[in-house]
Amino acid sequence: MNNPEKTESKAPVGEAKLPLIDRTDLGLTVVILTISGILYWLTMDFEKVADLFAQDVPPEFFPRLLIWTIVILTLGLPFEHLLLKRRGQSLTKERADRIEPMAYFTAALLFAVVASILLLGTSLSMVAVCMALPLLWGERRLKAILLFAIILPLLVTLLFSVVLGVHFEPGIFNVNMR
């Protein structure tokens, strides 16, 4: 039978034994390798050119070199936590908490704003984001939000559209300050 006291005395003080492979990083490795695989597959679809024309440097040469570099580097990811641990560092803490729902809601709101620029036009999209984002993030002073949603887009439109001459999308309501 093992003597537990004897086993404990061999382990370094204050150091928990780490698994050989970090599961989160293993998942990340799979994602990166999959993306690399897809990109490599895309390089096989590049138009073929004669060697003479390509001067021995075909268009797929450099991207493939990079993809292989990424693949080789990525293979070290699942074991990297062991090296970090030696230096007293860890990435686990930052990734322990799940992504807050607010981050998803924010991303979804911004996606909706970007998707509606053609419809609303640039100026109205700015108004929309200036109203919706503070509301989403818990701001309830409606007068302040309203003031903010009018003044900021107005100033930005004046600076970019009128002063710098940038063409802003007018949208279906044809809102254009120029």
Partner: protein, 498 residues
């Protein structure tokens, strides 16, 4: 002498002085705001500066870069929340000093140390950049390829925990840079049928997305964070006794910061950490560190600001960015039609002196603004996140759009932002990806030209001693942790008593 006069005359134009002043004010404000950073501000400024002449545009960005590095120290000292990563080391001793009622003394010392570090590095920049450019004139494509590989390998030691992740991000950035039409053959690569991608991925939306939108998504998870604030602030310049105590620390840290800045890819954060460590190592009062040591403020502040001038050396002389922010300045130079590197120095030497003058002016401006307005700048952290970050998104959206008036670019910004957020969560910094993206074209061009020159014979790379030097330094840099580990193990084994 003529280029010096020409360069300085350019920046003495009242409009340009106004732009430099605006850059300094924006820089200090952005630096002071936790979450906002100088790379983000420079990225957001990029579309605006495209409408300006190249000299004022780059001078404004350079001024913002200097001031942003200093701005972070205000909130590091007053609220223990470094506005920018380079100021993190300043908080270690600045905040304890502020807590014991010496906030003004700490701020004064931080401002003066920053200015001294900045001026030291600018003098080095003035002499080193032309010298380096002269050497680089001898570089052919193989040497350039080796240099860019070395620069990319330096990403391993850029700030952040994981060297491996930095290298992967850098390689991915270079890969992104290959999208578009292949220069030698005209073949379309990774365009996915979008004509907007035929000329490659535009830098502006990617930079804005990674630095601004990625941070915005991160901030959406920290809406309830509050800071304890030191309110009674009367800024004091350091006394002669203080100077005597920290003089050598400032000088040493300025040297360290400038050297770190000159190294490709290394920036102010690494410089500040090294400045702090060295200040502690050389100090006679090590026990004071962490409890409000003067050297603990002077060391990192002199080093992080010295890194700004240092980082401009490889950026302008070689076309290799010295830091994340200079990578964006490099992108601005390219967008203004310049090819940064030795020829820029040869053809437009006045440009160097204009940037030198602008950065020098910025250093004195932020000394004044920082000393007079520290209390005001610390109050900008009171701006509710609910209004601050929507403003950042509005500027990001318009900034990404305005460069080419293209909604496609807003989508690129959005995707880059989400990618930046996810990358950051898993320990991949945005700076290595940006540097890879910006260096991508140069790496591929120099490699292709070399392969054509060598008739596809890789071994001919080793005919050039410069190439061999860069490759050896690259390998040493990449495998140094392994070499050190093996060496330590062997050494320890030998010294262990039998």
């Amino acid at each position: 002498m003529e280029p010096v006069i020409q360069g300085l005359t350019l920046i003495l134009d009242p409009f340009n002085i106004g732009l430099i002043f605006a850059g300094v004010v924006i820089g200090v404000a952005v630096g002071a705001l936790p979450g906002l950073s100088s790379p983000m501000a420079v990225a957001l400024l990029l579309p605006f500066t495209i409408t300006l002449d190249p000299v004022p545009a780059i001078c404004m960005m350079a001024a913002l870069y200097c001031a942003g590095t200093f701005g972070g120290s205000i909130t590091a000292i007053l609220i223990n929340a470094p506005g920018a990563p380079p100021a993190a080391a300043t908080a270690l001793d600045g905040y304890p000093m502020a807590k014991r009622g010496e906030a003004g003394r700490a701020l004064g010392l931080a401002a003066v140390s920053s200015v001294m570090g900045g001026i030291f590095s600018l003098v080095v920049f003035l002499f080193a950049a032309p010298l380096l450019a002269d050497i680089a004139l001898e570089f052919r494509p193989p040497e350039y390829f080796a240099l860019t590989v070395f620069a990319l390998s330096m990403l391993a030691s850029i700030s952040g925990k994981s060297s491996l992740r930095n290298l992967i991000a850098g390689a991915f950035g270079v890969l992104l840079g290959t999208a578009g039409i292949h220069l030698t053959t005209g073949v379309e690569r990774f365009t996915f049928g979008f004509y907007e991608l035929t000329e490659g991925i535009s830098f502006v939306p990617v930079l804005i997305g990674l630095f601004a939108l990625g941070e915005l998504l991160g901030q959406s998870q920290a809406l309830n964070v509050t800071y304890e604030r030191i309110t009674s602030v009367v800024v004091k310049l350091p006394s002669m006794a203080d100077f005597r105590k920290v003089g050598m620390t400032i000088l040493r840290s300025s040297g360290i910061g400038t050297f770190i800045g000159i190294l490709p890819a290394e920036g102010a954060t690494v410089a500040a950490i090294m400045g702090y460590n060295e200040a502690k190592r050389w100090s006679k009062n090590k026990e004071e560190f962490g409890h409000g040591a003067l050297e603990g403020i002077a060391g990192p502040e002199a080093a992080n600001n010295a890194a700004t001038g240092g980082a401009m050396v490889p950026t302008l002389a070689l076309g290799i960015p010295g830091s994340g922010t200079t990578a964006i300045i490099l992108a601005a130079l390219i967008m203004h039609g310049f090819r940064p590197g030795p020829y820029l120095m040869q053809e437009t030497p006045h440009f160097l002196y204009a940037i030198f003058g602008a950065m020098l002016m910025a250093n004195f401006m932020f000394l004044g603004i920082g000393l007079a307005g520290a209390k005001l700048f610390s109050r900008i952290t009171l701006i509710p996140r609910q209004f601050l970050w929507p403003s950042v998104f509005v500027f990001s959206m318009v900034g990404a759009y305005s460069f080419a008036s293209s909604i496609f670019d807003i989508w690129v910004m959005f995707i880059a932002g989400v990618l930046g957020f996810l990358m950051k969560r898993h320990g991949f910094g945005p700076a290595p990806l940006v540097m890879g993206l910006i260096l991508g074209k140069l790496v591929e061009e120099s490699l292709s030209q070399s392969m054509i020159m060598f008739d596809n014979n890789w071994f001919q790379f080793f005919d050039s001693p410069i190439v061999v030097f860069f490759f050896v330094v690259t390998l040493l840099g990449l495998f140094w942790p392994v070499v050190r580990m093996v060496f330590n193990k062997l050494f320890n084994r030998q010294t262990e008593p039998s």
